[in-house]
Amino acid sequence: MPSLNITLVSGPPGAGKTTWIRQQVNSAAETAVYLNLGSGNTPIDSTYLATEVAGLTVLPVEQLTDFLAQPLVGSAVYVELGFHIDLTSLILPDQMADCQRVTVLPPATRQTEWRNWADLVVTGVKTGMALSQPHLWRSVLSGQVLDLASLNTFWYELTHGAYGTVQRAKGIFDVADGRSLYFDFVAGLAETTYLELNLPLWCNGRPDRFSGIEVVGEALDQEAIAETIKACCLEDHVIAYYQQQIKDSLEPGDEVA
């Protein structure tokens, strides 16, 4: 059996797991495979990395078994573990037993559970809060198109505590002008604007690609979050109106879907 170069990456929310993986892949010559365990049906990091990192193949969990049977020899495999995955009870396939364990932690934190588990501790970013009982809320939004002005208002409210204490929030949203946008918030870090994902402008009906949101925090008013997102979503006839505008203003070479 060919030996695989596998790295498991763990750490608390917002510490910089995905960023660290991205740096490794960018600085290495070989191609890389990325697998995210624990993201369920909201593959935000996978979608982000797949569009933003050249030479990276994102592997859906469902394809792991097939992949291990016939791995891409010579490529590095990064497995990102969600913060909510219990490391002590995690059982991985035999082929993955011989791997490197990396944990990305904010500076000057004990986080003994992760330290004990890891072969290598990487100092990540200093986050503004460490919740003892972080709660995870997620929603798939695929097919929804949001009004950007509304989304900006919602994102401001969400990340400033209007719906509970938020430690980490990230999302991928399709907006009215056809773009797919990546939003990323970590409490205590400088606020950033969204990133436009390198995907074609969607201008034919409801987008048939992933979008969704993930929020980690405390005392989250999930119902209000869901309701507000719903209020940001556009109706079919409005989507059609904007998509016609996109089509009318296309320049040669614009990528559309």
Partner: protein
């Protein structure tokens, strides 16, 4: 003569009370109100009853009109679909709780008021829904004042208080756009001013405090007042009355109830 001018109370009874007692401390001769008595806030009836009890001359605001006429604001006056949905929720709630006599009172409010060389409107002399933001083009601003024939135009609606002086040089450029008769008056017109009274009940200056203005005609002095009040009482009432809790969160941060309206160029063409 000394007057106090306030606007945009938006059903915030606590803020109104605080402003009225601040006005009391300043020995004014008369109070004017520029409308938006209702909308978003939890006490629309109490606010109207107070204004009526004190016999405060009031012009009709955009929200007052919408409560009478049915939701009539053009869609483009909302900056986003989220703001529009929140605005509609507030409208429906207000529409349900408002007393018939309050509605009647709002229906008969005039669009503008005059007092000697002063004119009072809600949004602009053209329309209750038009925003006269401080950065509005100087020609447009001057045109709005000139149509009233007044020297000082008091307005509200933007929820941000300001004083803007328009001088003769701007006027001279302005007359090229006007017809002959206006040309004459324009040249001889003295300095004109636009005074925005801000908002008593729904500030958007980043603090929850109420704002209004005092104008002293003897000294020709305009003072912008910012008044602290127990906004947490209003926030509690918002939640207790079943209005969206996000209104309370935003009010406490001086961010308006739903979302700021910020298209300075938009003129509703209804």
């Amino acid at each position: 003569m000394k007057i106090a001018v306030m606007s945009c109370i938006h059903g915030n009874y606590e803020a109104l009370n605080a402003v009225l007692s601040d006005i009391d401390d300043h020995n004014v001769d008369k109070i004017y109100c520029l409308g938006d008595l209702v909308g978003y806030g939890p006490h629309p009836n109490a606010v109207v009853e107070m204004i009526r009890a004190l016999d405060i001359p009031t012009c009709q605001g955009c929200w007052d009109e919408d409560i009478v006429e049915g939701l009539n604001a053009c869609e483009c006056s909302y900056p986003s679909v989220l703001a529009e949905k929140r605005g509609k929720l507030a409208h429906e709630w207000t529409n349900q709780v408002i007393y018939p006599e309050v509605r009647q009172y709002l229906a008969q409010l005039p669009l503008s008021l005059r007092d000697d060389n002063l004119c009072f409107v809600h949004g602009s002399p053209h329309n209750q829904h038009e925003y006269l933001l401080p950065e509005v083009d100087a020609f447009v601003a001057m045109e709005r004042v000139l149509t009233t024939g007044a020297d000082i135009l008091f307005c509200g609606h933007t929820h941000v208080p300001y004083v803007r002086s328009l001088d003769a040089s701007q006027m001279q450029i302005r007359v090229k756009l006007a017809d002959k008769s206006e040309q004459e008056t324009s040249f001889s017109a003295p300095l004109k001013r636009i005074v925005n009274a801000g908002s008593v009940g729904e500030p958007r200056h980043g603090r929850p405090n109420a704002t209004y203005v005092i104008y002293d005609a003897n000294t020709d002095q305009i003072t912008l007042r910012e008044v602290e009040y127990d906004y947490e009482k209003t926030c509690a009432a918002i939640i207790e009355k079943g209005l969206p809790p996000i209104f309370a969160w935003r009010l406490a941060r001086g961010m308006e109830f739903a979302e700021r309206a910020d298209d300075p160029t938009h003129v509703c063409e209804r």
